[in-house]
Amino acid sequence: MDFNLSEEQETLQEMACDFIRERWPADCAREALDKRPAVIGADVWQEILEMGWLGVAAGEDVGGIGGDVLTAAVLSQEAGRGLLPGPFQSSLIAALAVDRSGNDAIRSELVPQLIDGSLRATVAIEEPGGRYGPDAIAAKVRADADGWRLTGSKLLVPDADSAALLIVGAQTPDGLGWVRVRADAQGVEIRKMERMDAQSCSEVVFENAPVEGDALLGDERSLREAYDIWTVLLAADLLGSAEASLELTRRYAIERVQFGRPIGTFQAVSHRLANHLVDVEIGRSLLYGACLALDEKRDNAAPLVSAAKAWLSDAAVAAAESALQIHGGVGFTWEYDVHLHMRRSRCNAAILGDADYHRDRVADYMDESWVPPVKA
């Protein structure tokens, strides 16, 4: 029984935290709001690739470190805390999606390139129409004389503007699954969308676009698994945001004096922060639980992932809102970091399923498979 981060994970976490603070200080995120989109500079990106961050959870046989989902989540958490933008997370999930696609040939060909950065890929799931998740995927692949062709539209695709390869969830002749499409292929149009936190995201429209290899990259199971892994990485990012908002506010509540005493002595302030601390600790616990369940491929992995995402979506936004309120006037200034965390958490809370979508997923699980303990 050991339900804490391992020593290696703790070390990685500290290193990542220090690295991001030094190489991507909050001012970078602030400036990017004017100079959109927010993107990691080439030199910092190179260092991240050299540290092997994209391969922490990929298999050793394909150049990864063989870690688990939790190790990847630890990095996402630090990205959230340090406001690190793309293409970090989209590259991480692209590598993981291919690593776990079950398609050995493509896995051993692509994952090494995805990890060392020589191939930039991103993942596209969500579509127009206002519904979330794999079940709302309508993009369709049909087979014609020249091979497989993809038609459909994807929204909020992260870092599509700089990706060479798109990994796309679609209905195919072989069922729901993943296909690969080159970003520069005929029939692919990438249109910029603007995120509140200036991270890159695009609408991608496919019009009879050729599918690489004329085959599935991964089946429905692998699509759903990758969706869950991506969701849990976003939950980790949200945890990092929530912790950052809480820590900013905690420090401010100690420093700021009004009525002759630190504002942290007012219970209207301290109890609000205590509630956020509780929310953060519950969120961290749910996140660990979801990662472990994914790694152990347990039956309740999907509802635990949804639990973490729903909880942390609410918790991170609430912590950011309290941060703004408790900072008073300066909290509403451009120069304070409060709004940066607010922007990021607001975006991530609404991506890959908002809290209500994930509560619905939990309710469906309760309906179908949950077995509560019964009194003897």
């Binding site: 029984m1 939790l70 922060l273 519950i282 309710a363």
Partner: protein, 408 residues
């Protein structure tokens, strides 16, 4: 990271599970009574020689004979010297099958551990085995009319007179006082010292002349707690626990005798299961309550909260097994568990809708009125044992390290 236990611990679990299924299939030896029912029976019993609580004592005795109470206590006083993990497994398994409540819970969970840690050899020998077998039932005399959250301002005083203390004053909210044989209490022994330094920890026999118990009816209608008055009550000096005027530290440590949050989680999950069943059966015109999005989302949110609590419990437990302090988990767990319980019962009454007002004896009542009782019970939990506001103060000061508001 892993959530598995050692083979030895799993064997312990399997043996316990078997024992439980052999021993509570038939209804747990009549111990399954609520505290209220026990009290009623105790009050209404005539002074016959028969012990009115014999039934309620049977279950803890059965457990003791099998070695499943006093796990953490030394063997010398009837305990088991069991490992921390085994204590957790035991609490978990008992919760899982919802073993009957233990009439000697206060003794087992508060005064027993306090005596193990701070009692004299004499006190341990005399009291611990009798706590384990429910021969003695104990109540806790901490709160007073003027001293609740601010417990250290308590006034009930004890003066030394030869080999005895003479106690005068009042305690209040004393749970289970009428059926208790002994009371452990905090008294002021030095009125001139700073308030935390003039308090002592005493044990008193409830039959001592000068003690009067006056049961109070609680908001839920039961009589779970009482006022206890002390009028020149003489307590032998050997019933002092720890040093004279050293009672505050001891009381603090007994407030810290927390259990792993895991057993509470199972009970919450069972409650949520009942709530789901209730919502699945309740008609709302052409559909069932459970089909409504607002209900589904509320119940899903409770599932999420309970999983959060369970996994927080795993973290606390891992720290304790590794010999580290429990961390943020304990105060966070207490606060979040009582808040979750409150929300859960509130949701239940909301789901009942137009039937929510209907009380126990009506044929229209939902689930035999259990949700009204659960609702009151949940509300009491965010007061007893440290109010939720006090827990937030603790988190603010101890975890967030915010400055302490000036006192007085």
């Amino acid at each position: 990271m892993d959530l598995t236990f050692s083979e030895e611990d799993e064997a312990y679990r399997a043996e316990l599970r078997q024992w439980l299924s052999d021993n509570i299939g038939g209804g747990g030896g009549g111990g399954g009574e609520s505290a209220n029912a026990m009290m009623k029976r105790a009050e209404s019993s005539d002074e016959s020689k028969n012990d009115p609580l014999a039934g309620a004592r049977a279950w803890p005795r059965t457990l003791h004979d099998a070695g499943y109470v006093g796990l953490a206590w030394p063997k010398a006083y009837g305990g088991q010297d069991a490992s921390f993990t085994q204590q957790v497994i035991c609490a978990d398994e008992m919760a899982r099958v919802r073993t009957p409540p233990l009439i000697n819970t206060i003794g087992l969970s508060i005064i027993g551990p306090t005596l193990v840690q701070h009692g004299t050899e004499e006190q341990k020998k005399r009291f611990l085995p009798r706590i384990l077998r429910a021969d003695d039932l104990w109540c806790q005399g901490f709160s007073e009319p003027e001293a609740g959250s601010d417990l250290a301002s308590l006034r009930c005083r004890a003066e030394i007179d030869g080999d005895e203390f003479v106690v005068n004053g009042q305690k209040v909210w004393t749970s289970l006082a009428p059926i208790s044989d002994w009371i452990f209490m905090l008294v002021r022994t030095d009125p001139d010292a700073p308030k935390r330094e003039g308090i002592s920890y005493l044990l008193a026999d409830m039959k001592t002349p000068g003690i009067t118990v006056r049961p109070l009816r609680n908001a839920a209608g039961g009589s779970h707690f009482s006022e206890v008055f002390f009028d020149n009550v003489r307590v032998p000096r050997e019933h002092l626990v720890g040093e004279l005027n050293g009672g505050w530290q001891i009381a603090r440590s007994s407030l810290d005798h927390e259990r792993s949050g895991l057993s509470g989680v199972v009970a919450l999950e069972e409650t949520l299961g009942r709530l789901w069943r209730m919502a699945s059966n309740l008609d709302r015109g052409d559909h069932k309550a459970v089909e409504e999005p607002s209900t589904r989302r509320a119940l899903a949110q409770h599932w999420i909260e309970i999983e959060g609590l369970r996994h927080l419990g795993f973290r606390t437990l891992s720290n304790q097994i590794a010999g580290k302090p429990p961390g943020a988990g304990s105060s966070v767990g207490k606060l979040f568990a009582s808040e979750t319980r409150n929300q859960l019962t509130r949701t239940a009454l909301r789901v009942e809708g137009p039937l929510a007002p209907i009380a126990k004896r009506s044929p229209h009542v939902v689930d035999r009125g259990r949700w009204h009782a659960a609702y009151f019970d949940a509300l009491a939990h965010s007061i007893g044992g440290g109010t939720s506001e006090v827990m937030r103060n603790v988190i603010a000061e101890k975890v967030l390290e915010l400055p302490r508001p000036a006192e007085d």
